[in-house]
């Protein structure tokens, strides 16, 4: 680790700081206290911006805002036309460096000078190397991952652990190459699978083409081969004999002419369309008649006119009619004829009675007339078609009432005929010269070859894809194993921090597990109760307060584990906001040990917790220094800050005296 320390920071026109304010940080433990909104977080922001020129968590908030908004420059200072300035004094291996960054949202400039004021560099690369980072991006990553724990990022450390922690730890452990290797293997498998999909589609197309060519060849073979001719004739004759009543005008020789067959097919098709329309008209007419009948039935149910005297007499006559003697005129008539006459008369009289209701009569007539018109129109359509088509027999289907069953039967026969004609046409159409036939045969052979090649490619492609998938799975498994083994080597640091804070009564151990899931090796934190052999994911079994402790454990564990850009400090902004007293006591003991490893800067708004930390972190020997930075309040002029170095508190040897 580079022996370095933050010595002081001077902040002007930056965020909450309007006027220049110098704050000493020269101690191995710095306790920053103050109520919410007094500028404590601005101090951590100033350290981040001073070292990297970036405040990425605030840049995200700018996205939806006008370009005039500035997250760097203090609002009051901006009105005075000032740019922000942060000057950091750091001590590295006994030498002091002063880093001054000036700028705004638009960008910043950097100057690094030595203790005597000599300009050393204006490059961020210089600062990165000062902290042992290979480049500024790595320094930024180190700062935001294990250098500074922002209060708004506490929970995210745990909830977004697999996404954040995996690359972070893989990088720290020098295993990021493995993640990339697995990702590349997955990419390779995907590429091969895509190729297999393309080849499958291509094979389908080539097979369709082969099928089409084979059919063409079969048709050509039928016309070309010695056996083909009689077969065609037999097919043509069968078509003719089966449906001679429809195709009476077509001769046997015409039946072998593809053009004639095509024409016949078109006419039959047209006839089918006409018959379908006629059938539809018959159905509609039947519906209309049905409506008329319903109107009449309804009228009969609801309409009860007084029967006329004549109707009463006829009804009476029908009732008393027993032999050939008319009960009205007393003449002799055949009883059957007489009954028929009387019934007809009664119907006529009843019908006349209904005329008394003109609305009902009109409705009934409208339906009847509609049905009649439809039938007539259908009949006419059929007759018109029958006169201009060469298909005979259609006129015979036109009966006085258009018989539905006959039309349906004709439709079935014609549909069947159309299919046969199509089959015949397919056989007749390709018939050509022998040269054509040979070309067709050659085309089929060539296409078979193409299909064979594509099939072979596909088989090979599938084998390769399957091998690639097996390789990818194995690579993932191996990467997870290697990562887990490396995690086991460092896990005790995370668990050590967690156990010192001991936030959970039973889940007393924190572990990191490498799981190969979703196509990559992912590091997921778990809390465990080894006494009962039970564990759980912290996001599911822990309270917010306990999650804060886990976040802190992951942050500090990472900071203590890394030797990739090991920063000389850890800065924690309000890490105790969700902790209880017991956790805070544990945190105080933890900081007491941590200060021997890193410069520790802790900010808190809680006075009680600040008092606990101050008591626990007051130096007891000259080897330690503790500084308190109090943010007393905030106004438009900026924060009011006081700093105090805590004096070493000598402690007596109690046990020796007591003994």
């Amino acid at each position: 680790m580079t022996m370095a320390r933050l010595v002081s920071v001077e902040i002007e026109a930056f965020r909450g700081f309007r006027h220049s304010e110098s704050i000493s940080l020269d101690a191995d433990f710095v306790l920053v206290t103050g109520a919410n909104g007094t500028g404590k977080t601005c101090l951590t922001d100033a350290l981040t911006w001073g070292l990297t020129g970036k405040l990425s968590h605030l840049t995200d908030r700018l996205r939806q805002l006008p370009k005039t908004e500035d997250h760097i420059v203090n609002r009051y200072a901006a009105a005075e036309g000032k740019d922000a300035r942060v000057t950091l004094c750091i001590r590295v291996r006994g030498s002091d460096y002063s880093l001054t960054r000036r700028g705004s949202r638009r960008g910043s400039t950097l100057e690094v000078v030595d203790a005597t004021g000599n300009l050393l560099s204006k490059e961020d690369q210089f600062v990165a190397e000062l902290f042992g980072a290979s480049d500024p991006a790595r320094l930024l990553n180190a700062l935001t991952s294990w250098g500074i724990l922002r209060q708004d990022a506490m929970q995210m450390v745990v909830t977004a652990a697999p996404e954040r922690l995996t690359p972070l730890l893989a990088g720290i452990l020098g295993l990021d190459q493995l993640s990339k290797f697995v990702a590349s293997s997955r990419q390779y498998t995907r590429r091969l699978n895509a190729e297999v999909r393309d080849m499958t589609a291509q094979l389908g197309q080539q097979r369709d083409e082969l099928r089409r060519r084979i059919e063409q060849q079969e048709r050509a073979a039928m016309a070309e081969s010695p056996e083909g001719e009689p077969a065609l004739v037999r097919l043509a004759d069968a078509v003719r004999s089966d449906h001679s009543r429809w195709l009476g005008k077509i001769t046997a020789s015409e039946m072998l002419d593809a053009n004639v067959v095509a024409l016949a097919g078109r006419e039959v098709g047209e006839a089918i369309e006409v018959l379908e329309r006629v059938l539809a008209s018959i159905a509609e007419a039947a519906q209309e008649e049905g409506r008329a009948a319903r109107v009449l039935a309804e009228a009969q149910r609801s309409y009860r006119p007084d029967e006329s005297a004549e109707a009463k007499a006829v009804r009476l006559a029908l009732a008393v009619l027993q032999d050939d003697t008319c009960p009205v005129c007393a003449h002799d008539h055949p009883a059957g004829t007489l009954r028929g006459l009387l019934e007809n008369r009664l119907r006529a009289l009843s019908s006349a009675d209904f005329k008394l209701s003109p609305e009902i009569g009109a409705a009934q007539r409208a339906h009847q007339e509609g049905a009649l018109r439809m039938r007539e129109s259908a009949k006419q359509r059929l007759l018109d078609f029958a006169t201009r088509t060469s298909i005979i027999g259609l006129g015979a289907e036109v009966r006085s009432e258009l018989d539905r069953a006959s039309v349906e039967s004709a439709l079935r026969e014609l549909s069947d005929l159309r299919e046969r004609l199509r089959e015949l046409y397919r056989c007749l159409r390709p018939a050509g010269s022998s040269a054509d036939y040979r070309a067709i045969v050659a085309g089929v052979a060539a296409q078979r070859e193409v299909v064979g090649q594509v099939e072979q490619q596909l088989t090979e492609g599938r084998r390769n894809a399957s091998q690639a998938k097996a390789f990818e799975d194995a690579a993932l498994e191996v990467a997870s194993e290697i990562l887990q083994a490396a995690l086991d080597d460092v896990a005790f640091v995370f668990s050590d921090v967690y156990e010192r804070l001991s936030p959970h009564p039973t889940f007393r151990s924190l572990e990191l597990r490498s799981l190969g899931s979703f196509g990559s090796a992912r590091v997921i934190p778990y809390v465990s109760d080894h006494e009962h052999n039970v564990d759980g994911n912290p996001t599911l079994v822990c309270s917010d307060g306990q999650l804060s402790v886990i976040a802190l454990s992951l942050f500090l564990g990472t900071a203590l584990t890394t030797d990739d850009t090991p920063l000389p400090f850890v800065i924690m902004d309000d890490p105790m906001q969700a902790m209880d007293v017991l956790n805070v006591l544990g945190f105080g003991d933890l900081c007491r040990q941590l200060r021997d490893q890193r410069q520790v800067i802790v900010a808190t708004h809680d006075r009680r917790f600040a008092a606990i930390l101050e008591r626990k972190l007051t130096p007891r020997d000259s080897g330690h220094t503790t500084r308190r930075v109090d943010f007393l309040g905030w106004s438009a002029a900026g924060p009011v800050v006081e700093t105090e170095i805590l004096e070493v508190e000598e402690v007596p040897v109690v046990l020796a005296e007591a003994v």
Binding site: L173, G174, L175, Q177, L178, F181, S184, S185, Q187, Y188, N464, Q467, F471, A474, A475, V478, I482, A486, D488, D489, V490, A491, F492, S495, D496, E499, R500, S502, P505, R508, S509, E511, S528, H530, E531, L560, T561, T562, D563, V581, L582, L585, G586, D589, L590, R592, Q593, D596, Q597, K616, R620, D621, E650, V651, P652, V653, V654, L655, A658, V659
Partner: protein
């Protein structure tokens, strides 16, 4: 005092001294139960051990009072607020006793209380060798971090190569994959 309790205290004594604490046995007395008292520049510790939880609970209460009295009469520094009473049990307590233990540990009045029995708060992820150098688990809050160098895999791709071969992938395939990744950053198998 049983042999088990005596062993616990002897181990605690040795461990505390090994960690740089000043330890005394006869400074504080709680009836028949022996008490270890230890001091560092940061804190005071009283360690008691009993066979049964009921006895331990009483011992801890009395030890806390004795420790507070001892420290307040000799030390006016902030250290007098950093008192710990550690209770050791040779056997695992019952479930109902565990609840009482949790409640006692949550009570930070006068001193922090830590109760330990074998099996509690073990570091599963740490091998026996490594755990051996880290002292007793109940001492962890008072101990410095023992950070060992991170074990780095010098060439993770070579390790990947070796383990893929162990999974019966043929040498040519594995080498082609590794080599193409090293050269172009892309895995190629054929």
């Amino acid at each position: 005092m049983t042999e088990a309790v005596d062993t616990l205290l002897q181990e605690a004594d040795a461990e505390l001294q090994r960690q740089g604490w000043r330890v005394a046995r006869d400074v504080v007395h709680v009836g028949e139960s022996p008490v270890l008292v230890a001091e560092s520049v940061a804190a005071f510790l009283a360690v008691v051990a009993n066979e049964a939880w009921t006895d331990l609970e009483r011992s801890m209460r009395l030890a806390q009072a004795e420790l507070a009295d001892l420290v307040s009469s000799h030390d006016r520094s902030g250290r007098r607020w950093d008192l710990f009473v550690v209770g050791l049990l040779p056997e695992r307590p019952t479930e109902s006793e565990t609840l009482q233990i949790d409640q006692l540990e949550d009570n930070t009045l006068m001193a922090r209380k830590v109760i330990y029995w074998p099996g509690r708060q073990e570091l599963a992820a740490v091998s026996a060798d490594r755990a051996g150098g880290r002292g007793a688990p109940w001492l962890r809050p008072f101990m410095a971090f023992h950070l060992e160098p991170v074990v780095h895999v010098s060439d993770p791709l070579a390790l990947m190569h070796e383990r893929l071969l162990a999974r019966s992938f043929d040498t040519a395939t594995v080498e082609r994959a590794i080599d193409s990744f090293r050269e172009r950053g892309e895995v190629e198998l054929a």
